[in-house]
Symmetry: C2
Subunit: 223 residues, 2 copies
DNA sequence: ATCGTCAATAATGTCGACAATCCGATCGGT
DNA sequence: ACCGATCGGATTGTCGACATTATTGACGAT
C-alpha cells in the first residue's frame, strides 16, 4: 500500500531545506513551486509556511508571500544571549542529574574535540560542540527549555561557524568545555552554571568580534 | 467599502479567547463552529489553529482535530524556570538601560502594589505584578527574549493566580519587587539580576507549594 | 529622458465540494 | 448480558477553481 511516503512532512522537509541552507535568507518561497518540488499539495505547503513563520524561520507578508527570514546581526546576538541564560540553567540542573552514561558520553566527545583541535579541523570541532551541548540538554531533562533552544539554534544557523574563525578560539573553547565537564562530574550546581555561563559569554564575545570584523571587511570591498 | 472588519485576525481572536479562558483545557476546537462563531472561513480558522499549535496553546492530533492544550504541573514549573532564567538576564540588561521614565513608571507601580497589598486585593496585585515585569522587559530592549516570555506567559496563564493564595506571600513579594527596583535605580547589573532571580525562585517555590496543596486537596475530595 | 498610467502576469487568499477518517451507536451472535 | 462487527453521522484533510492583490513592463504625455 502507498509506496510513496507522502505524509504531512511538508513541514519537516521544508524546514530541513531552509536550515541546511538550500534556500537563502530573503529568498522567496513560492507555494506552487515548493509544492511541486516536494510532491505535496499547495495546502500542505501553506500550512508548513504558517508554522515556519510562527517559528521564526520564515516571514509571511500578507498578499506578498513568504520568504526565508533574514536574521539580523543584532538578533543573532540576542539569540546567543537567550541561549546563554537557558543553557546556564540547564547546566545547573544537569549537575544533579547526569548519569554515568552521560558523563562517559561527554568525556568521549571532549576527547574527539581535542583531536579536532590538534588537527586544526574547525568545522569538525563545531559539530562536536553541538553534540556536547545537546547531551547536556538531555541530561538536564527539561523539555520546555530544550525545545526552545532547538528552535533558536536553527534560527542562528547562519552564524554557526562564524565563531570558529577567530584564531586561538578552539583551544580556549576546549578548556571551557573541560571546565563544564569537571563541574558536572563533581555534581556541583553552582560551578556548572558559572562554567557554562562563562563559556557562552566567551562565545558571545567571539560572535561580536566576528560580526564586527565582517563589517570591517565589507567596508574594504564595497559592493 | 466592506463595513465588516473581516481580517485575518481569526488567529488573534481565537488566541484571546483561549488565553482569557473562554475555552477550557482539553476542550475540542471544531473548525466549523469556530469559523461560524467568529465569522471567518474554515480556511482562516485552520491556519490559526496551526499557528496556535506551533505556539503551544493548542494541540492538533492528525485526523482528530484540535483541542486546547493542557499544561501539566510539571510543564508549568518548567515554564517558570525558563522565565526565571530569561528575566534574570533581562533585569541585568535593564540595569544599564533604564530611563528616568522607566524608573518613575516602576515606582508608580510599586506604590499601587503596596495599596493592593494593604487592601488584601490579591488579584489586583497579580495584575500589577504583570505590568511591573513587563515594564522591565521593555526597558531591557530585548525583543527576542520578550517575545519568548510573552508566549510562555500565555501558556502558563492557568496558574497565574495560584501563587497569590499562599498566606503572607504578597508582602514578601512586594519586598522583592522593591529590591529589584532599588537595583535598577542604582544601575547595578549584578544586584538586579540576583534580585530578580531570587524573586523568581520564591515564585517558583510558591508555585510548587500551590500545586502540592492542590494535590493534597484532591486526595481528600476524590471525584 | 522622466514620470505616471495602464495592462499583463504571477502569486496569494478564500471558498465550496468531496474524500478519508474517526467515534459512537446499533445490531446480532454467543 | 456481553462482546465484536458494522453502519451512520460528524469532522478533518485535500484538491481545484476563482477572486484579489501585488509586480512587472510597455506605452504615451509632458
Amino acid at each position: 500500500m502507498e509506496t510513496r511516503g507522502q505524509r504531512s512532512d511538508a513541514y519537516h522537509k521544508l524546514r530541513e531545506a531552509i536550515v541546511s541552507g538550500q534556500y537563502h535568507p530573503n529568498e522567496r518561497l513560492v507555494e506552487a513551486s515548493i509544492a511541486q518540488r516536494m510532491g505535496a499539495g499547495r495546502t500542505a505547503v501553506r500550512a508548513a509556511l504558517v508554522r515556519l513563520d510562527q517559528e521564526g524561520l520564515v516571514e509571511i507578508e500578507p498578499n506578498r508571500g513568504a520568504r526565508v527570514r533574514l536574521i539580523s546581526d543584532r538578533e543573532a546576538l540576542e539569540i546567543e544571549e537567550v541561549r546563554a541564560a537557558l543553557e546556564g540553567m540547564l547546566a545547573r540542573r544537569a549537575a544533579t542529574r547526569v548519569t554515568a552514561e552521560d558523563l562517559s558520553a561527554l568525556r568521549q566527545v571532549i576527547t574527539k574535540m581535542r583531536e579536532r583541535v590538534e588537527a586544526g579541523d574547525s568545522i569538525g570541532y563545531s559539530e562536536l560542540n553541538a553534540t556536547f551541548h545537546q547531551r547536556i540538554w538531555t541530561a538536564a531533562d527539561h523539555p520546555t527549555a530544550s525545545h526552545l533552544l532547538g528552535s533558536l539554534k536553527s534560527q542562528g544557523i547562519r552564524f554557526q561557524y562564524q565563531t570558529a574563525l577567530r584564531p586561538g578560539r578552539a583551544q580556549r573553547s576546549l578548556r571551557e568545555h573541560e571546565a563544564i565537564f569537571g563541574a558536572l562530574k563533581a555534581h556541583d550546581e553552582d560551578s556548572a552554571e558559572t562554567a557554562m555561563r562563562e563559556h557562552l559569554a566567551e562565545v558571545l564575545d567571539t560572535l561580536r568580534w566576528a560580526i564586527e570584523s565582517q563589517h570591517r571587511a565589507a567596508r574594504w570591498l564595497p559592493g
